[in-house]
Protein backbone atom coordinates (compact mmCIF):
# COMPACT_ATOMS: atom_id res chain seq x y z
CA UNK A 1 0.00 0.00 0.00
CA UNK A 2 1.25 3.48 -0.91
CA UNK A 3 1.23 5.41 2.37
CA UNK A 4 1.35 8.81 0.65
CA UNK A 5 -1.82 8.06 -1.33
CA UNK A 6 -3.62 6.78 1.76
CA UNK A 7 -2.55 9.88 3.70
CA UNK A 8 -3.79 12.09 0.86
CA UNK A 9 -7.19 10.42 0.88
CA UNK A 10 -7.56 10.94 4.63
CA UNK A 11 -6.37 14.53 4.36
CA UNK A 12 -8.81 15.31 1.52
CA UNK A 13 -11.73 13.79 3.45
CA UNK A 14 -10.88 15.89 6.50
CA UNK A 15 -10.05 19.14 4.69
CA UNK A 16 -13.09 19.04 2.43
CA UNK A 17 -15.41 17.61 5.09
CA UNK A 18 -16.49 14.78 2.78
CA UNK A 19 -19.22 13.28 4.91
CA UNK A 20 -20.04 9.59 4.35
CA UNK A 21 -16.88 8.99 2.27
CA UNK A 22 -14.04 6.71 3.40
CA UNK A 23 -10.55 6.36 1.90
CA UNK A 24 -11.64 3.05 0.39
CA UNK A 25 -14.29 4.91 -1.63
CA UNK A 26 -11.64 6.98 -3.42
CA UNK A 27 -9.84 5.03 -6.15
CA UNK A 28 -6.29 6.18 -6.93
CA UNK A 29 -7.23 7.08 -10.50
CA UNK A 30 -10.72 8.54 -9.96
CA UNK A 31 -11.10 12.07 -11.38
CA UNK A 32 -11.44 14.40 -8.39
CA UNK A 33 -13.23 17.23 -10.23
CA UNK A 34 -15.50 15.10 -12.38
CA UNK A 35 -19.15 14.55 -11.46
CA UNK A 36 -18.53 10.87 -12.06
CA UNK A 37 -15.69 11.02 -9.54
CA UNK A 38 -15.67 13.07 -6.36
CA UNK A 39 -17.41 16.05 -7.97
CA UNK A 40 -15.17 18.66 -6.38
CA UNK A 41 -15.48 22.35 -7.34
CA UNK A 42 -13.45 25.57 -7.42
CA UNK A 43 -13.64 26.15 -3.65
CA UNK A 44 -12.32 22.62 -3.15
CA UNK A 45 -9.43 23.45 -5.49
CA UNK A 46 -8.46 26.28 -3.13
CA UNK A 47 -8.78 23.91 -0.17
CA UNK A 48 -6.44 21.43 -1.93
CA UNK A 49 -3.84 24.19 -2.37
CA UNK A 50 -4.08 24.87 1.38
CA UNK A 51 -3.86 21.12 2.04
CA UNK A 52 -0.60 20.79 0.12
CA UNK A 53 1.00 23.57 2.13
CA UNK A 54 -0.43 22.46 5.46
CA UNK A 55 0.48 18.76 5.28
CA UNK A 56 3.33 18.68 2.77
CA UNK A 57 4.95 22.11 2.90
CA UNK A 58 4.37 22.64 -0.84
CA UNK A 59 3.19 25.94 -2.28
CA UNK A 60 1.38 25.80 -5.61
CA UNK A 61 2.42 29.05 -7.26
CA UNK A 62 1.55 28.26 -10.87
CA UNK A 63 -2.20 27.60 -11.40
CA UNK A 64 -1.38 25.46 -14.46
CA UNK A 65 0.49 23.05 -12.18
CA UNK A 66 -2.62 22.67 -10.03
CA UNK A 67 -4.77 21.74 -13.02
CA UNK A 68 -2.54 18.76 -13.72
CA UNK A 69 -1.69 17.87 -10.13
CA UNK A 70 -5.27 17.79 -8.83
CA UNK A 71 -6.64 15.40 -11.45
CA UNK A 72 -6.51 12.33 -9.22
CA UNK A 73 -4.87 10.86 -6.14
CA UNK A 74 -2.20 9.36 -8.45
CA UNK A 75 -1.33 12.76 -9.96
CA UNK A 76 -1.34 14.48 -6.57
CA UNK A 77 1.06 11.89 -5.14
CA UNK A 78 3.32 12.20 -8.20
CA UNK A 79 3.28 16.00 -7.92
CA UNK A 80 4.23 15.88 -4.22
CA UNK A 81 7.08 13.44 -4.87
CA UNK A 82 8.44 15.53 -7.75
CA UNK A 83 8.29 18.75 -5.76
CA UNK A 84 10.09 17.17 -2.81
CA UNK A 85 12.94 16.03 -5.06
CA UNK A 86 13.44 19.60 -6.39
Amino acid sequence: MDNLKEDLKNQIIEQLNLEDITPADIADDVLLFDDGGLGLDSIDALELIVLLEKYHGIQVINPEEGKVAFKSINTMAEYIRNRKVE
Binding site: N17, L18, E19, G39, I43, L46, V50, E53, K54
Partner: protein
Protein backbone atom coordinates in the same frame (compact mmCIF):
# COMPACT_ATOMS: atom_id res chain seq x y z
CA UNK B 1 -52.75 43.14 2.37
CA UNK B 2 -49.97 40.58 2.09
CA UNK B 3 -50.91 36.91 2.12
CA UNK B 4 -48.72 34.26 3.73
CA UNK B 5 -49.00 31.02 1.80
CA UNK B 6 -46.25 29.03 3.52
CA UNK B 7 -44.37 29.01 6.82
CA UNK B 8 -41.48 26.87 7.98
CA UNK B 9 -39.28 27.02 11.08
CA UNK B 10 -36.41 25.03 12.52
CA UNK B 11 -35.98 25.93 16.18
CA UNK B 12 -35.55 24.40 19.61
CA UNK B 13 -39.26 23.55 19.45
CA UNK B 14 -40.93 20.86 17.26
CA UNK B 15 -41.87 23.47 14.66
CA UNK B 16 -40.60 21.91 11.42
CA UNK B 17 -43.33 20.41 9.20
CA UNK B 18 -45.54 20.21 12.26
CA UNK B 19 -48.80 22.12 11.82
CA UNK B 20 -50.42 22.62 15.22
CA UNK B 21 -47.11 22.84 17.08
CA UNK B 22 -48.33 25.88 19.01
CA UNK B 23 -50.74 23.69 20.95
CA UNK B 24 -48.06 21.30 22.16
CA UNK B 25 -44.95 23.38 22.76
CA UNK B 26 -43.82 24.03 26.31
CA UNK B 27 -41.59 26.71 27.80
CA UNK B 28 -38.01 26.11 26.76
CA UNK B 29 -35.74 24.31 29.20
CA UNK B 30 -32.13 25.25 29.82
CA UNK B 31 -31.06 21.89 28.32
CA UNK B 32 -33.06 22.28 25.10
CA UNK B 33 -31.36 21.54 21.80
CA UNK B 34 -31.99 22.57 18.21
CA UNK B 35 -34.38 20.07 16.61
CA UNK B 36 -32.73 19.37 13.26
CA UNK B 37 -34.53 17.48 10.51
CA UNK B 38 -32.61 15.09 8.26
CA UNK B 39 -31.04 17.76 6.04
CA UNK B 40 -30.08 15.22 3.36
CA UNK B 41 -33.71 15.23 2.30
CA UNK B 42 -33.46 18.94 1.45
CA UNK B 43 -29.87 19.72 0.52
CA UNK B 44 -27.51 18.16 -2.00
CA UNK B 45 -24.70 16.28 -0.25
CA UNK B 46 -22.06 18.27 -2.14
CA UNK B 47 -23.36 21.52 -0.66
CA UNK B 48 -24.38 20.12 2.71
CA UNK B 49 -20.84 19.16 3.69
CA UNK B 50 -19.80 22.80 3.76
CA UNK B 51 -22.88 24.24 5.42
CA UNK B 52 -22.93 25.40 9.01
CA UNK B 53 -26.00 25.18 11.23
CA UNK B 54 -27.53 28.49 10.11
CA UNK B 55 -27.14 27.66 6.41
CA UNK B 56 -28.65 24.19 6.79
CA UNK B 57 -31.62 25.59 8.70
CA UNK B 58 -32.19 28.40 6.21
CA UNK B 59 -31.99 26.30 3.05
CA UNK B 60 -34.18 23.51 4.48
CA UNK B 61 -36.86 26.01 5.61
CA UNK B 62 -36.71 27.81 2.26
CA UNK B 63 -37.20 24.57 0.32
CA UNK B 64 -40.00 23.52 2.66
CA UNK B 65 -41.78 26.83 2.02
CA UNK B 66 -41.44 26.49 -1.74
CA UNK B 67 -42.88 23.00 -1.51
CA UNK B 68 -45.80 24.15 0.72
CA UNK B 69 -46.64 27.03 -1.61
CA UNK B 70 -46.41 24.71 -4.62
CA UNK B 71 -44.36 27.17 -6.64
CA UNK B 72 -41.40 26.57 -8.93
CA UNK B 73 -39.40 29.61 -7.87
CA UNK B 74 -39.93 32.54 -5.50
CA UNK B 75 -39.96 35.99 -7.09
CA UNK B 76 -37.30 37.18 -4.63
CA UNK B 77 -35.29 35.96 -1.66
CA UNK B 78 -35.08 38.31 1.34
CA UNK B 79 -33.37 37.29 4.56
CA UNK B 80 -32.90 39.02 7.91
CA UNK B 81 -30.16 38.10 10.35
CA UNK B 82 -28.97 39.82 13.47
CA UNK B 83 -25.54 38.25 13.81
CA UNK B 84 -25.05 36.26 10.62
CA UNK B 85 -23.01 33.10 10.15
CA UNK B 86 -21.30 33.01 13.53
CA UNK B 87 -19.94 29.45 13.38
CA UNK B 88 -18.02 30.13 10.18
CA UNK B 89 -16.94 33.56 11.43
CA UNK B 90 -15.55 32.00 14.60
CA UNK B 91 -13.85 29.25 12.60
CA UNK B 92 -12.28 31.74 10.20
CA UNK B 93 -11.01 34.00 12.99
CA UNK B 94 -9.54 30.99 14.80
CA UNK B 95 -7.81 30.03 11.54
CA UNK B 96 -6.35 33.53 11.28
CA UNK B 97 -4.97 33.26 14.80
CA UNK B 98 -3.63 29.71 14.63
CA UNK B 99 -2.58 28.97 11.04
CA UNK B 100 0.62 30.27 9.52
CA UNK B 101 0.57 30.49 5.74
CA UNK B 102 -2.45 29.96 3.50
CA UNK B 103 -5.88 30.04 5.18
CA UNK B 104 -8.65 27.60 4.21
CA UNK B 105 -11.15 29.60 2.13
CA UNK B 106 -14.46 27.91 2.97
CA UNK B 107 -15.06 29.41 6.43
CA UNK B 108 -14.15 32.88 5.15
CA UNK B 109 -16.43 32.62 2.12
CA UNK B 110 -19.32 31.41 4.24
CA UNK B 111 -18.82 33.80 7.14
CA UNK B 112 -20.54 36.74 5.48
CA UNK B 113 -24.09 37.67 6.47
CA UNK B 114 -25.47 37.30 2.95
CA UNK B 115 -24.39 33.67 2.64
CA UNK B 116 -27.84 32.42 3.69
CA UNK B 117 -29.72 34.22 0.92
CA UNK B 118 -26.92 33.27 -1.49
CA UNK B 119 -26.98 29.59 -0.59
CA UNK B 120 -30.76 29.46 -0.87
CA UNK B 121 -30.44 31.01 -4.31
CA UNK B 122 -27.73 28.55 -5.36
CA UNK B 123 -29.66 25.57 -3.99
CA UNK B 124 -32.77 26.32 -6.03
CA UNK B 125 -31.17 28.06 -9.03
CA UNK B 126 -32.91 31.38 -8.40
CA UNK B 127 -31.70 34.50 -10.22
CA UNK B 128 -34.17 37.01 -8.77
CA UNK B 129 -33.77 39.86 -6.27
CA UNK B 130 -31.57 38.61 -3.43
CA UNK B 131 -31.18 40.72 -0.32
CA UNK B 132 -29.95 40.42 3.25
CA UNK B 133 -30.98 42.80 6.03
CA UNK B 134 -28.99 43.04 9.21
CA UNK B 135 -30.31 45.57 11.72
CA UNK B 136 -29.77 43.75 15.00
CA UNK B 137 -33.11 42.75 16.57
CA UNK B 138 -35.08 44.49 13.82
CA UNK B 139 -33.52 42.49 10.99
CA UNK B 140 -36.60 40.39 10.35
CA UNK B 141 -38.97 43.37 10.39
CA UNK B 142 -36.74 45.13 7.85
CA UNK B 143 -36.68 42.04 5.64
CA UNK B 144 -40.47 41.86 5.88
CA UNK B 145 -40.82 45.54 5.00
CA UNK B 146 -38.56 45.04 1.98
CA UNK B 147 -40.76 42.15 0.84
CA UNK B 148 -43.90 44.25 1.28
CA UNK B 149 -42.41 47.17 -0.68
CA UNK B 150 -41.35 44.80 -3.44
CA UNK B 151 -44.86 43.34 -3.61
CA UNK B 152 -46.28 46.86 -3.89
CA UNK B 153 -44.11 47.46 -6.95
CA UNK B 154 -44.07 44.11 -8.71
CA UNK B 155 -43.28 40.49 -8.16
CA UNK B 156 -45.03 37.73 -6.33
CA UNK B 157 -44.38 34.78 -4.05
CA UNK B 158 -41.50 36.34 -2.16
CA UNK B 159 -39.48 34.11 0.10
CA UNK B 160 -38.80 36.11 3.25
CA UNK B 161 -37.34 34.88 6.50
CA UNK B 162 -34.77 35.21 9.20
CA UNK B 163 -32.17 33.10 10.94
CA UNK B 164 -29.55 33.32 13.66
CA UNK B 165 -27.29 30.72 15.22
CA UNK B 166 -25.91 30.40 18.73
CA UNK B 167 -22.26 29.90 19.59
CA UNK B 168 -20.90 29.51 23.12
CA UNK B 169 -19.07 32.83 22.92
CA UNK B 170 -22.38 34.75 22.86
CA UNK B 171 -22.88 33.89 26.53
CA UNK B 172 -19.64 35.73 27.33
CA UNK B 173 -20.55 38.89 25.42
CA UNK B 174 -24.31 38.96 26.01
CA UNK B 175 -24.02 42.21 28.01
CA UNK B 176 -22.27 43.98 25.14
CA UNK B 177 -25.03 42.79 22.81
CA UNK B 178 -27.65 44.14 25.25
CA UNK B 179 -29.08 40.64 25.64
CA UNK B 180 -30.78 40.12 28.97
CA UNK B 181 -30.43 36.39 29.52
CA UNK B 182 -33.87 35.70 30.92
CA UNK B 183 -33.95 32.65 28.66
CA UNK B 184 -31.25 30.45 27.08
CA UNK B 185 -29.49 31.66 23.93
CA UNK B 186 -30.75 29.50 21.07
CA UNK B 187 -30.67 29.12 17.28
CA UNK B 188 -33.58 29.39 14.89
CA UNK B 189 -34.73 29.97 11.34
CA UNK B 190 -38.21 30.89 10.12
CA UNK B 191 -39.17 31.44 6.50
CA UNK B 192 -42.40 32.40 4.76
CA UNK B 193 -43.83 32.89 1.28
CA UNK B 194 -45.50 36.29 0.97
CA UNK B 195 -47.83 37.20 -1.87
CA UNK B 196 -50.15 40.05 -2.79
CA UNK B 197 -52.52 37.61 -4.44
CA UNK B 198 -54.87 35.42 -2.43
CA UNK B 199 -53.81 31.90 -3.33
CA UNK B 200 -55.79 28.74 -2.72
CA UNK B 201 -55.05 28.28 0.97
CA UNK B 202 -53.44 31.34 2.50
CA UNK B 203 -52.48 30.89 6.15
CA UNK B 204 -52.89 34.50 7.29
CA UNK B 205 -52.29 38.10 6.17
CA UNK B 206 -49.63 40.57 7.18
CA UNK B 207 -51.56 43.83 7.49
CA UNK B 208 -48.63 46.04 8.43
CA UNK B 209 -45.14 46.04 9.89
CA UNK B 210 -42.94 48.69 11.42
CA UNK B 211 -39.30 48.87 12.56
CA UNK B 212 -38.54 51.75 14.89
CA UNK B 213 -35.11 52.63 16.26
CA UNK B 214 -34.29 54.80 19.28
CA UNK B 215 -37.78 54.32 20.60
CA UNK B 216 -38.68 56.30 23.71
CA UNK B 217 -42.21 55.27 24.49
CA UNK B 218 -43.45 51.87 23.39
CA UNK B 219 -47.05 52.54 24.41
CA UNK B 220 -47.35 55.62 22.19
CA UNK B 221 -45.82 53.80 19.23
CA UNK B 222 -48.15 50.80 19.63
CA UNK B 223 -51.15 53.10 19.97
CA UNK B 224 -50.17 55.06 16.83
CA UNK B 225 -49.53 51.85 14.88
CA UNK B 226 -52.95 50.45 15.77
CA UNK B 227 -54.63 53.76 14.98
CA UNK B 228 -53.00 53.86 11.52
CA UNK B 229 -54.45 50.42 10.93
CA UNK B 230 -57.87 51.52 12.16
CA UNK B 231 -57.77 49.28 15.21
CA UNK B 232 -58.12 49.80 18.93
CA UNK B 233 -56.28 47.82 21.57
CA UNK B 234 -59.45 45.89 22.41
CA UNK B 235 -59.57 44.66 18.77
CA UNK B 236 -56.44 42.63 19.39
CA UNK B 237 -57.13 38.98 20.12
CA UNK B 238 -53.54 38.12 20.92
CA UNK B 239 -50.28 39.97 21.55
CA UNK B 240 -46.98 38.13 21.26
CA UNK B 241 -44.17 40.16 22.76
CA UNK B 242 -40.50 39.74 23.55
CA UNK B 243 -40.13 42.14 26.44
CA UNK B 244 -37.51 41.28 28.99
CA UNK B 245 -38.25 44.07 31.48
CA UNK B 246 -36.34 47.19 32.39
CA UNK B 247 -37.65 49.06 29.37
CA UNK B 248 -37.24 52.85 29.10
CA UNK B 249 -40.99 53.26 29.32
CA UNK B 250 -41.43 50.51 31.91
CA UNK B 251 -41.95 46.77 31.51
CA UNK B 252 -43.60 45.83 28.24
CA UNK B 253 -46.37 44.02 30.13
CA UNK B 254 -47.21 47.37 31.78
CA UNK B 255 -47.49 48.92 28.33
CA UNK B 256 -50.15 46.42 27.32
CA UNK B 257 -51.94 46.77 30.62
CA UNK B 258 -52.05 50.54 30.15
CA UNK B 259 -53.44 50.03 26.65
CA UNK B 260 -56.20 47.90 28.14
CA UNK B 261 -55.04 44.56 26.77
CA UNK B 262 -55.98 41.72 29.10
CA UNK B 263 -53.10 39.82 30.66
CA UNK B 264 -54.34 36.48 29.32
CA UNK B 265 -54.13 37.84 25.76
CA UNK B 266 -50.44 38.65 25.86
CA UNK B 267 -47.60 36.10 25.86
CA UNK B 268 -43.84 36.46 25.95
CA UNK B 269 -42.67 34.41 22.96
CA UNK B 270 -39.07 34.27 24.21
CA UNK B 271 -40.36 31.66 26.66
CA UNK B 272 -40.74 29.34 23.66
CA UNK B 273 -38.06 30.52 21.25
CA UNK B 274 -35.19 31.28 23.61
CA UNK B 275 -32.99 34.22 22.76
CA UNK B 276 -31.63 35.17 19.34
CA UNK B 277 -31.91 38.47 17.48
CA UNK B 278 -34.56 37.42 14.97
CA UNK B 279 -37.04 35.68 17.28
CA UNK B 280 -39.86 37.87 15.91
CA UNK B 281 -39.81 35.59 12.84
CA UNK B 282 -40.48 32.65 15.18
CA UNK B 283 -43.32 34.70 16.71
CA UNK B 284 -44.84 35.21 13.27
CA UNK B 285 -44.90 31.46 12.65
CA UNK B 286 -46.25 30.87 16.17
CA UNK B 287 -49.06 33.37 15.53
CA UNK B 288 -49.88 31.80 12.13
CA UNK B 289 -50.04 28.35 13.71
CA UNK B 290 -52.27 29.57 16.54
CA UNK B 291 -54.59 31.31 14.05
CA UNK B 292 -54.86 28.13 12.01
CA UNK B 293 -56.11 26.14 14.99
CA UNK B 294 -58.06 28.89 16.78
CA UNK B 295 -60.42 30.70 14.41
CA UNK B 296 -61.34 33.25 17.10
CA UNK B 297 -57.94 34.88 16.59
CA UNK B 298 -58.50 37.59 14.00
CA UNK B 299 -56.00 40.33 14.89
CA UNK B 300 -52.62 39.43 16.33
CA UNK B 301 -49.90 41.91 17.19
CA UNK B 302 -46.25 40.88 17.38
CA UNK B 303 -44.42 43.37 19.53
CA UNK B 304 -40.64 42.96 19.40
CA UNK B 305 -39.11 44.87 22.29
CA UNK B 306 -36.26 42.46 22.85
CA UNK B 307 -33.70 45.29 22.97
CA UNK B 308 -34.66 48.51 24.76
CA UNK B 309 -34.04 50.95 21.92
CA UNK B 310 -35.60 48.85 19.14
CA UNK B 311 -39.26 48.29 18.53
CA UNK B 312 -40.65 45.96 15.88
CA UNK B 313 -44.40 45.82 15.30
CA UNK B 314 -46.15 43.39 12.98
CA UNK B 315 -49.90 43.15 12.64
CA UNK B 316 -51.25 39.83 11.47
CA UNK B 317 -54.85 39.22 10.45
CA UNK B 318 -56.79 36.07 9.80
CA UNK B 319 -58.00 35.53 6.24
CA UNK B 320 -61.58 35.88 7.44
CA UNK B 321 -60.98 39.23 9.19
Amino acid sequence: MYYISAASSITHQPTFQNVGFSAVIEPLRESSVLLNPDYKGFIDAGLLRRMSKILRMSVACAKDCISQAEIEQPGAIIVGTGLGCLLDTEKFLNNVLTIEGLLPPTAFIQSTHNTMAGQISLSIGNHGYNMTHTQNTLSFENALLDAMLLLDEHGDNILVGAADEAIEFLNEISGKLHFQLTHPITSGASFFILSNVKNVNPLACVKDSRAIGLVQHVGSEVHAFLKENELNAEDLDLVLFSGVGGHISGGVEDVFENLGIAENKSHNYLTYSGIYPTTSAFALHLAIDKMKTDKSLRNVLICNTFIQSNLGLTLLQSIEA
